[in-house]
């Protein structure tokens, strides 16, 4: 039997219809792949029985011709999504033993459309990180290695498990979330496609909250087409999330292959950083050339407040997190470390339950919201946010349809290599991606090439609100020109 785990979601769809293989055979192939890949530490909870039960149901439906859009497609689910009755802990010890009695809207949408769950994927604790080194369950290992090296590399974060699992063919696609780059940066580090949709495109209900004005769910997949197929199922209005947009979900797949004729792509000068590795500058120019060859008009644009997005983010996001994570107090769910009185119980529980990065961010957030500092920090950061958003609005109003930038300032780095650095050095990984969350816009990362050590690099496209279709059009052009990449299996 050919290796079924090599098939994309689009190919699975065709293959199941033609009855080339069954959903059960496909699920078994992935369950085997996961068992052989434990060295990557991508999955923190495996659900093979559930997957096989769902696959059996899919086979019954296929037999009677009642086929849903994602029928029989085996997916990995980031541990940040509440999945009913299944480990949902945001990779944190403070939610020890938590099994939600409800299903997140995004995953419910995927099951509605026939997909099945292979398990829950590792991530940075509470989605706070850019390397998946901050998980209670230990780091995820990138399936990619540098040429001639067996050094373990990070897959990026916070959706490191999702990106690693998709790249290593442990699932056909994965759900992920992005608050400052947590879909796009790991996608770029693993040669996968990741899209963060417009704020409000997907429901946040049932997703453990980090920063409520920045969080968005999105897919990580092997191809642009697969990402489009997944997003169509994930997205949609939800009455349980008042920030979700009451707008119809387009057929994103129809945009794939529509080309670039008549579109104008902006190249923002402020994204050219001093000391940026030459290979990234080269790739960015290559991307421009590919889009131009496909019919796009390329223009230089300016987004003057770009450099202030990262510091503003590191005020706004921790502030919102300090509020969202106040609920973890050992009373209603998760870990409880008893104390002499109630306050001591809170303090002991939270000290024992939260990891170091989470504590750092809660403390920064608490500080910038505290009396005497609120105006100087939080209010100022929210005003800068208005200016960042305005830069993009003016750019789009001038006739730009999409903006092309690098996705990351480097390729994947070694696990542990930033352990002694200042926390700020880790934060710089998100320098190209946070602007997009701050402005609430959609952004996609698509593989564009490999660096001199054979490691993946991606390009990012930023779009107008709710215009994910233009992003899929442009990303497909890049994928057609650059090709797709898969790591050599060493595990």
């Amino acid at each position: 039997m050919t290796d079924l785990t090599g098939l994309t979601i689009a190919e699975i769809r065709d293959g199941l219809r033609r009855k080339d293989f069954s959903a059960t055979e496909l699920a078994r192939a992935y369950i085997g792949a996961i068992e052989r890949a434990r060295a990557l530490n991508a999955f923190i909870a495996e659900t093979p029985d559930r997957a096989l039960a769902a696959a059996a149901q899919s086979d019954a439906r296929i037999a009677r011709g009642d086929i849903r859009p994602l029928e029989g497609v085996p997916l990995g689910i980031k541990d940040l999504f509440c999945t009913e009755g299944v480990h949902s802990q945001a990779a944190s010890h403070i939610l020890n033993g938590f099994r939600p009695p409800y299903e997140s809207t995004v995953t419910a949408n995927l099951w509605r459309d026939g997909a099945l769950m292979l398990g829950k994927l590792n991530m940075d604790e509470f989605a706070m990180g850019s390397s998946n080194e901050a998980s209670y369950y230990g780091p995820v290992v990138n399936p990619w290695r540098a040429n001639g090296s067996d050094e373990k590399l990070v897959p990026g974060g916070s959706s490191g498990g999702s990106a690693a699992a998709v790249a290593a063919r442990l699932c056909a696609g994965a759900t992920a979330t992005d608050t400052g780059g947590s879909i796009r940066q790991p996608a770029a580090f693993t040669a996968t496609v990741g899209i963060k949709p417009t704020y409000g495109r997907c429901s946040r209900w049932g997703i453990v909250a980090f920063a409520s004005s920045l969080d968005q769910a999105g897919p990580i997949a092997r191809t642009v087409r697969d990402a489009a197929i997944m997003l169509r199922s994930m997205a949609g209005h939800d009455p349980k999330d008042t920030t979700s947009a009451d707008l119809p979900v387009p057929d994103y797949e129809a945009a794939v292959g529509a080309g670039m004729k008549g579109l104008r792509v902006g190249i923002p000068k402020e994204y050219r950083l001093d000391g940026m590795p030459p290979v990234i500058e080269t790739l960015w120019e290559q991307g421009r050339a590919w889009l131009k060859a496909a019919g796009a008009e390329i223009v230089d644009v300016s987004l003057p407040h770009t450099k202030y997005a990262l510091p503003a983010y590191y005020i706004v996001a921790p502030a919102e997190a300090s509020s969202n994570l106040a609920r973890y107090d050992g009373v209603r769910y998760g870990l409880r470390v008893p104390g002499d009185d109630l306050v001591a119980t809170y303090e002991n529980t939270r000290a024992a339950g939260f990891g170091a990065e989470v504590k750092r961010r809660i403390l920064i957030g608490t500080y910038v919201l505290s009396a005497g500092y609120y105006d100087a920090y939080y209010l100022r950061a929210q005003k800068v946010r208005t200016l960042i958003k305005r830069d993009f609005e003016e750019c789009f109003a001038a006739g730009v349809d999409a903006i092309l930038t690098p996705a990351t300032p480097s390729a994947a780095f070694a696990i542990g290599s930033k352990a002694k650095a200042s926390p700020v050095e880790m934060y710089l990984n998100d320098i190209f991606t946070v602007t997009v969350n701050m402005a609430g816009l959609p952004g996609i990362a698509v593989p564009a090439g490999l660096d001199e050590r054979g490691l993946p690099l991606g390009l990012q496209l930023i779009g107008r609100p709710f215009d994910e279709e233009t992003l899929f059009r442009a990303a497909q052009v890049i994928e057609d020109a650059a090709g797709t990449f898969a790591p050599a299996r060493w595990w």
Binding site: R99, P100, P101, T198, Y199, G200, S213, P239, T242, T243, A245, K307, Y308, P311, A312, Y314, I315, S322, A326, G330, V331, R332, Y333, G334, L335, R336, D340, D341, L342, V343, A344, T345, Y346, E347, R350, A351, F354, K359, R360, I362, L363, I364, Y367, S370, Y373, A376, Y377, R380, A381, Q382, K383, V384, T386, L387, K389, S422, P423, V424, Y427, G440
Partner: protein, 95 residues
Amino acid sequence: MSVDTAAVKRVARLARIAMTDAEAERLRADLNAILGFVEQLNEVDVAGVEPMTSVQPMAMKKRDDEITDGFYPEKIVANAPASENNFFVVPKVVE
């Protein structure tokens, strides 16, 4: 703006996270690095700029003020570290 160890402990108290002096000292360096990084926001002219309160402009939808859910307390306390008769049990609060 930078913080001293006493300030870190104060903030830890606000955040209800127990913290030893040694931990507070370690975190002090990290927090000061972050606060140093965000100082550059003072360069921006924000005169007359409204803080962003809504990411996508929209009117918040409201629902009818009716009970449409609930009546399953056992599900609500199912994950509790300590519960009794569908109550969450905690250390005594009122003397």
